[in-house]
């Protein structure tokens, strides 16, 4: 499937869903700060990669897919969408590690003003790059699986 930019899901998502994600994100950010205050930055830092929004996102995907699927495809379609989302999140976590490494190495060298944008760029490059590499590997294995050696592109 090709990468697409689509505004349709915005019309399907309820304002409650956005509010829930806002509240969850805010609560986890406050919680992370409190953990760092109580146990120090070494423990607090681990919680910067706590899966705060992922479970909420998965619940929203499940609800949306179940609402739009027919009665026969309800659980199956939601599960397939959730698996795709989870695979994406696993690849995205490589980007999260890239962000953390870039921030760790850059903060004291170049300051926050440059280190944080560079760390965000590292996240984007690692996450999107990882996603493309995985997509290529999957399509290659499908190609080989279908005996497509004569159709090499």
């Amino acid at each position: 499937m090709k990468l697409k930019f689509d505004f349709q899901p915005l019309r399907q998502t309820s304002w409650r869903g956005h509010l829930l994600r806002f509240a969850m994100g805010g609560a986890v950010t406050v919680g992370t700060g409190l953990v760092a205050k109580a146990f120090g930055p070494i423990v607090g830092g681990v919680f910067l990669a706590f899966p705060a929004i992922f479970p909420v996102g998965l619940m929203m995907v499940e609800k949306l897919q179940n609402e739009s699927a027919g009665p026969g495809a309800r659980g199956h379609r939601a599960r397939r969408a959730a698996i795709a989302q989870a695979v994406g999140a696993a690849v995205g976590s490589l980007g999260l590690a890239g962000f953390a490494a870039a921030a760790w190495l850059g903060l004291e060298r170049v300051g926050a003003g440059l280190a944080l944008p560079l760390a965000l760029a590292a996240w984007a490059v690692a996450a999107v790059g990882g996603w493309y590499l995985r997509k290529r590997a999957v399509s290659r294995s499908l190609h080989v699986g279908h005996g497509g050696t004569a159709h090499a592109h």
Partner: protein, 116 residues
Amino acid sequence: MEEQLLRFLAGGALVASFALLGDLFQPKSFAGLFAAAPSVALATLGLTIHQRGTSYGAIEARSMIVGAASFFVYASAVSWSLNAWRPKPRVAALSCVALWFAVAAGGWWALLSRAG
């Protein structure tokens, strides 16, 4: 109290914005990248560095690598369990959080507990 309110608003706004951006992309596996966006980290590091300096932020960022590895195990486990056992997605997502804590605690003990 004012600090907590600021953290709540900054974290909430960044998390909601990244999630909204993720909603706009197809296929779902690409949208999933935004579920692992560094939104909480950006809000926390931004405020922490402002209050305590870059050295404190760098220590937090180093620890975050362990959290990110735990996230990888967590998201992989959610995907694997959905394939293998076919639970409801919400059940898989919530029950696997325990795995994140276990891997994070193991990583902290093995790599960070003796670090300065």
